[in-house]
Chain length 342, copies 4
């Protein structure tokens, strides 16, 4: 059993971690912290956990994080970087679901996140937790930077093309659509039901924080900088990301076979048959990315459709996958639930 | 391992059975039939099952139903009654998720369902599969009539009051609200997204088929006929039933304690603390009924709030619970998934 | 042209007033105030009004409210009672969309609203703005207390029964369901899309502020106190209230004809044919209440179904109706838009 | 008053025409046909029209279409082409909301629509009813081919760029998202609430019928063939299209000013300030297209965001606009309703 702590458990990635870990046969949840809700039983805030999670939120100061083998940070950006050093020094491994350790170029991080980084040295040590790219490094990591939701969907869709060198990496387009839970469980007007329902909009066209993260990952695969236009949109559903990716083919290739081969051994990536259109609900509640690749009218534009559940493969499920790798567990452990349909 | 067949697997109760049974450690799914889709791999119709359910739909004639230990009917009303006799004779047990065997008074059944009953004799043998009432009978049953979704939510909410004899059973009111999946996976105009979304309506006020089923169950508990006004409504959500129940108290009682005691040993009924308002999403995807009981302003009207997932506790989950009972398995086997929230 | 001011225009009743008044042929909107947003063009906050509403929000102190003929308060409870006296003294008529003047018994008001009333004297002068009951008094009123959304739907449904003396007023039940816009445009967690979507719940079963308002109106019609159980629910749609009302008949009556006669001259109440089930979307965006009356199985329980758009007939549309009456305009002026379907 | 007939009034474009024409001060609706529903009062099918539309559906054979000045076809593809010749010969003008007359190259039309065209000659006469391009021709037209919903949103977004010759027309991308009403009011499984809600998917990536229509319009503006990748998506909302358009800039230009100038005199196109993100709800129920133009990170990719209500500017509203032009009415007549928000 892996002894686990969660810092910051009142948001959606926190409660999703709780759902997954409470059903994980090798997980022993020691504590979950919340400054604001300290003392409140977790199941009072989230009745879906009644009878299954008996913990109360602990005060961050009082929580026995040092007794854990791994601590998940399900906190806003900027918290994990303050506390990770001490945990690592105490021999506790860390998985950060926020963005603190995702961008290797600290100056770029500071520009996009608008704060000074508290421990740049750890940024270099951190392993970017996309198992389909960094599986081996994750196994040995002390500190994993769990990828963002958009970056997961977009990178998994583009990687086969870029790794194979078959597209113009100077002109990539990622048109991504997210369910509203991606905005978190914060009280804000624009994500109210009466604002976000029966409505569709783009946002952050001038620049979204996930852009440098995606570019970093794609550039690494390309071995060169990439040119990416990334437009996120808000769509009236709770969970799910659908990324529609466009690139210009620079040479002939069997696209279907390229994708199938790239992911043939990946437990959480499913390449659909040619001609398919994956639906976000086909991965609802599951740690799966489903992909389809198209070449409309046989032209030189390739279109990739990539869907994930933003809270699972795009956040907490991927974090548990990383934990499984770090602790030598079979990768599917605790992540085998079937999607909820309808 | 229990060898299982499903007749009629293309509707919502069918695919939900598949989701539950594919994750059930003691279930071995032998076949699933569909006249219309015979030959089509199940996962082509329901991509959420890709990689986990390898069966194709079989033609009903060709399916090895006789080799099963239990067959679930997830068919429209009127199918199970034609085929059950032969299965029972072959030593196969049957769980009917439709209404064919729910109403003991065949004349009443024929009136509400508008057809002649094909095997009235079996109606008498059938056990009504509400485990909270008929647990022992279910264990020994060859044929279980799985309750309707509304009847499950309404009966579980009223039973403690009626069994204790503390309300006027002549004037019960059940105001029930169902998600749209309750209408099934049939192509119909009134359940189209553009019709049912952002909309709320009552239906069947003059009389709904679940009325006699509920009355039968409540009358049995009361030992006398009951007077029930039942108004179902369609609410724009996929899953979930919320029943709001009203009754007039006829004597003083500690309502909270009455409910807590009645369900203290029930694995799938959760009585919330006094003052609670259960949400349908708190049981989404789970085989749980959550209840709260109120007495507004200390008057003599008791209000019970009862929520279930109509496809799980209201259909396929309850059917699996019944199977567990029939085959001597621990009741929670394969039914321990946590609700999906948000 | 009626010269109009709006106090507090950033909520849903405010923007709905703007939508209606901007299209009202006799309305001249002089100012709209918001302490927080003073200076911001209204159409920057609400792009739906671009090109049609050129005003900016004014600071409440600086706004020329004294130059108006009527001022609408679309504010939280407790604001109008502070400012109404001065406006009336300046010869400005007032329509309050909040609750400050709805309850004649000031002690009751103070108990339910948890604050001290600032001008009890005006409570006695205020006319309750339900035109179907108080049409003549509204015409001459200086101060109109615009009804709440639930109270509008529930009273219009019960009134024919109570006025005719055909039901037991000691045991009325109102099971009401509201769209999420009824909770206002406040940043709160429980009305976020990811919380309120695909979910249904009751709230305030122990007591909701609209209860004394409804009871007051029904008691006035009955000439005696009434016993009402009122349970509001939140349903995942933007607009709309569906009230399902239950009462026990105490004598025989032609219900359909009773309702048709009661409302035959009402421009904004539509009694549907016998057997109908009104949908909330059939009144979406319109100032209409549609009603249907049922007597299930010919028993002694009468069921009334009442639907309104909570922001129109339940708030801003009814306020404009009141304005039309107060200024001698044809009642339908500016309120003739057809519902939006689908 | 213009005397009007509607052929095929039971779908969403039909009922939307009814909503708009019933409120149009110069419209006199003579008849509306439906083979299947002949005899049924329109308001029985669409209660939102109760008290305002007194017509019943007529049998197509019996309807006095010859007495009309204009007939709208709100029918499936392939109906208008059978009946238009006779109407024109009788002096009746025709506006077809389906696709029969949209594509000038009849061979292309026959390929995409999978049927033989019944009157190719009229295709050449028909005027494509996009007023922002063909205003003068529409005024004199006998036969108007009302544009498709996607083509309206996409063309209005691309036209300023293409007309000004500032983008590479060989590599245009249109990523479009539509509400579910775009699929029509047909009973189909994939548009059921329980299928389309809380879900997002692309469809028709291999080729959608609106592709040749868009290409034809853009090619005409470019004076040369264009290369367009068009990917439509289904998003869980009732109304609205959001097109996100991508093109490569080939020379420097002030994009904001380019768009503002192009549409400065257009009554139904609204160019938002730089940096804006139009929401579909900002045009809900209105005949408006709102546009914003972006150049992310100052690169050479231009991103245009274009939103319309698919049933209004994308169908029935644009049809009424065309009628206004054809009959010399002020363009805004009957189309001045404000969007419904929230």
């Amino acid at each position: 059993m892996v002894r686990i702590g969660i810092v910051g458990g009142t948001g959606y990635t926190g409660v999703e971690l709780l759902r997954l870990l409470a059903q994980h046969p090798e997980a022993e949840l020691l504590c979950i912290t919340s400054r604001k809700e300290a003392g409140m039983p977790v199941a009072d805030m989230f009745p879906s956990l009644r009878g299954r999670v008996d913990l109360a939120f602990s005060d961050p100061q009082a929580a026995p994080l040092g007794a854990c083998e791994v601590v998940f940070f399900a906190t806003p950006n900027g918290i994990a970087m303050e506390q990770t050093r001490a945990l690592l020094d105490a021999g506790v491994r860390v998985i950060d679901l926020a963005a603190d350790f995702r961008i290797r170029d600290v100056a770029v991080w500071e520009q996009w996140y608008g704060m000074r980084h508290a421990c740049p040295a750890l940024v270099q040590e951190a392993v970017y937790g996309l198992p389909e790219v960094n599986r081996e490094a994750i196994r040995g990591a002390r500190l994993v930077a769990n990828p963002g939701c958009y970056p997961t969907a977009v990178q998994l869709g583009f990687l086969p093309l870029i790794e194979a060198g078959v597209v113009d990496v100077g002109m990539l387009i990622a048109d991504a659509k997210s369910g509203v839970s991606g905005a978190g469980r914060k009280a804000e007007v624009h994500t109210l039901f009466a604002e976000a329902s029966d409505n569709f909009k783009a946002y952050g066209v001038a620049g979204h924080r996930h852009l440098p993260e995606i570019c970093q990952g794609l550039a690494r695969a390309a071995g060169a900088p990439v040119g990416l236009t990334f437009v996120p949109h808000l769509t009236p559903m709770i969970r799910g990301i659908h990324a529609t990716l466009y690139a210009r083919l620079t040479r002939e290739v069997d696209l279907q076979s390229l994708f199938a081969t790239r992911y043939q051994n990946e437990p959480f990536v499913d390449v659909l048959p040619a001609g398919s259109h994956p639906e976000t609900r086909s991965v609802r509640s599951a740690n799966t990315c489903r992909l389809a690749v198209h070449r409309p009218q046989g032209g030189d534009t390739v279109v990739v459709l990539s869907v994930i559940d933003n809270l699972v493969k795009g956040a907490s499920g991927q974090a548990v996958h990383n934990m499984n790798l770090m602790f030598g567990l079979p990768e599917r452990t605790g992540l085998d639930h079937l999607p909820l349909m309808p």
